[in-house]
């Protein structure tokens, strides 16, 4: 009798386990990345639309787009040429070119992607494979934009250049106002580059501002202006790597790439007053001339393969489970801590993009 009770208990437990586990197993299977199905889709797209597709904003040295597009070409036979436009220029080009554009997909800072996709209406809705795994605040419910990876605004410092200038590595935003840093600091033109806009917004948040109040940021940037070397319309990646720019405000991932891949004397500093994360996003162009290729490519960007490439390029993948151990080991700032990153909802930032750019143009930009 006792034995029979044991058997009954085991059967019961097994049944309960099967019933409770089934939904998650089914869900996991549904969400698994179906590479065979995707390859079929890609081959059909290539047959119908060729082997070249166009991405606006595909800067080789930003977020390792050079590596990502090269991998895609070598592995899957589709060429995506580089394009040096920043986020704002990408949106402006699509608004201007509209149905005549040859662009199939576009990449931006997520705040500008949301503006382009929703307010300007230059994107077609598309939810790529892996959609369900994206965090809810990093995608448009209708699929007009979605995140692919994320950076954190940081100081990217060239330690040798600072040594030559006889100044220490700065730890805080406030350190940079000291006249000893004159001519050593730079950030790119925030009316051209989304990451540069995020950098000045990060300063605003660190100085006590918010999406409703840009005054602290503008006041800080005014005080910082005498120390600024330049506000470049081109990316300062190479000048920062060469030490011509000693302290550059940009995404941490670019700094880690300079340090680990390019071998530069570069360190990343998370400022002591805090900083913000800067999610980057894609959209499918409304008038894409190669929509099948565009969809297959956007699917791939959320695949474990592409997300893993970004992780290994020091960009936090939008689907966090694809973060790699190697990246975790190497993404260590010299000063500061990732706990200092403040969260600001993407859509909240949208309302102040233009007012903040306008204030910067009127009060900070050199004539």
């Amino acid at each position: 009798m006792k034995r029979w009770e044991v058997i009954q208990a085991v059967v019961l437990v097994t049944l309960i386990a099967l019933v409770t586990c089934e939904p998650s197993t089914v869900q996991a299977q549904a969400q698994a990345w179906d590479k065979t199905g995707w390859l079929k889709k890609l081959e059909e797209a290539k047959k119908a639309e060729g082997r070249v597709m166009i991405q606006y904003d595909a800067q080789p040295n930003y977020a390792n787009w050079g590596g990502v597009t090269l991998f895609f070409k070598k592995s899957y036979g589709v060429d995506i040429p580089p394009d040096m436009k920043g986020s704002s220029a990408t949106m402006a080009a699509l608004v201007k070119e509209r149905q005549t554009t040859v662009a199939d997909v576009a990449y931006y800072n997520a705040v500008i992607a949301a503006q382009a996709g929703v307010e300007k209406g230059v994107h077609a809705p598309y939810k790529p494979m892996g959609w369900d795994k994206l965090p809810g605040d990093c995608k448009d419910p209708e699929g007009r934009w979605f995140c692919v990876h994320e950076g954190v605004i940081a100081f990217i410092v060239h330690t040798k250049a600072l040594e030559r200038a006889g100044v220490p590595v700065p730890k805080c935003w406030k350190d940079l106002i000291d006249p000893k840093y004159k001519g050593l600091v730079a950030y790119d033109d925030p009316t051209v580059h989304g990451t540069a806009w995020e950098s000045i917004f990060s300063a605003n948040v660190a100085m006590g501002g918010s999406t409703k109040d840009i005054k602290p940021g503008i006041e800080y940037l005014k005080k910082l202006d005498p120390n600024i070397l330049r506000y470049s319309r081109d990316t300062s990646y190479n000048p920062a790597l060469r030490g011509e720019v000693a302290i550059w405000f940009n995404a941490d991932g670019n700094g880690y790439k300079m340090k680990w891949e390019d071998g530069g004397p570069i360190e990343v500093v998370i400022p002591c007053e805090g900083t913000i994360a800067t999610p980057l996003a894609m959209g499918m162009v409304k008038w894409a001339k190669r929509p099948k290729l565009a969809m297959a490519y956007l699917d791939w960007l959320l695949s474990p393969e592409a997300q893993g490439i970004w992780a290994d390029s020091y960009w936090l993948p939008a689907i966090r489970e694809y973060m790699t151990e190697n990246a975790k080991k190497k993404m260590k700032p010299l000063h500061g801590d990732y706990k200092l990153v403040k969260s600001v909802p993407i859509l909240e930032k949208q309302d102040i993009i233009d007012p903040y750019k306008k204030a910067w143009l009127e009060q900070i930009k050199r004539k």
């Binding site: 070249v52 166009i54 606006y56 040429p81 580089p82 394009d83 040096m84 436009k85 220029a89 402006a92 080009a93 608004v95 201007k96 070119e97 509209r98 005549t100 554009t101 040859v102 662009a103 051209v192 319309r233 081109d234 001339k289």
Partner: protein
């Protein structure tokens, strides 16, 4: 007779004013230089990478790519281009600065 002499310059001024007012709609051709990135023959378009200093494309910087519409009369010339070719183009912006760019001429350099 005297009255006619007075009116003649006024009429000329009016003509100049009317022509000036219609000028933005006509839009003069602009020159640009750059490198061919992609010839999209199916869609009658050319993707051009701006040369140093923007290559004459307003607001552009080196390395940015821009779409140009290829009109029927230039399709032969554009079709003979390949990625990497350096070109000089003239173009117009028919709907003013907010409209798409249409090629008026394209020459391989």
């Amino acid at each position: 007779m005297r009255r006619r002499n007075v009116l003649w310059p006024t009429a000329v001024l009016w003509m100049i004013a009317v022509l000036t007012a219609s000028f933005p709609v006509i839009a003069a051709g602009e020159d640009a230089t750059g490198k061919v990135v992609f010839v999209d023959t199916r869609n009658s378009a050319l993707l051009l990478e701006a040369a140093k200093g923007g290559g004459g494309i307003p607001g552009a910087k080196e390395g940015e790519t821009f779409t140009f519409i290829v009109p029927a009369e230039l399709q032969g010339a554009a079709g003979g281009l390949a990625p990497g070719d350096a070109v000089a183009v003239t173009f117009e912006e028919k709907e003013g600065k907010d409209g798409p760019r249409t090629l008026k001429s394209v020459t391989k350099k």
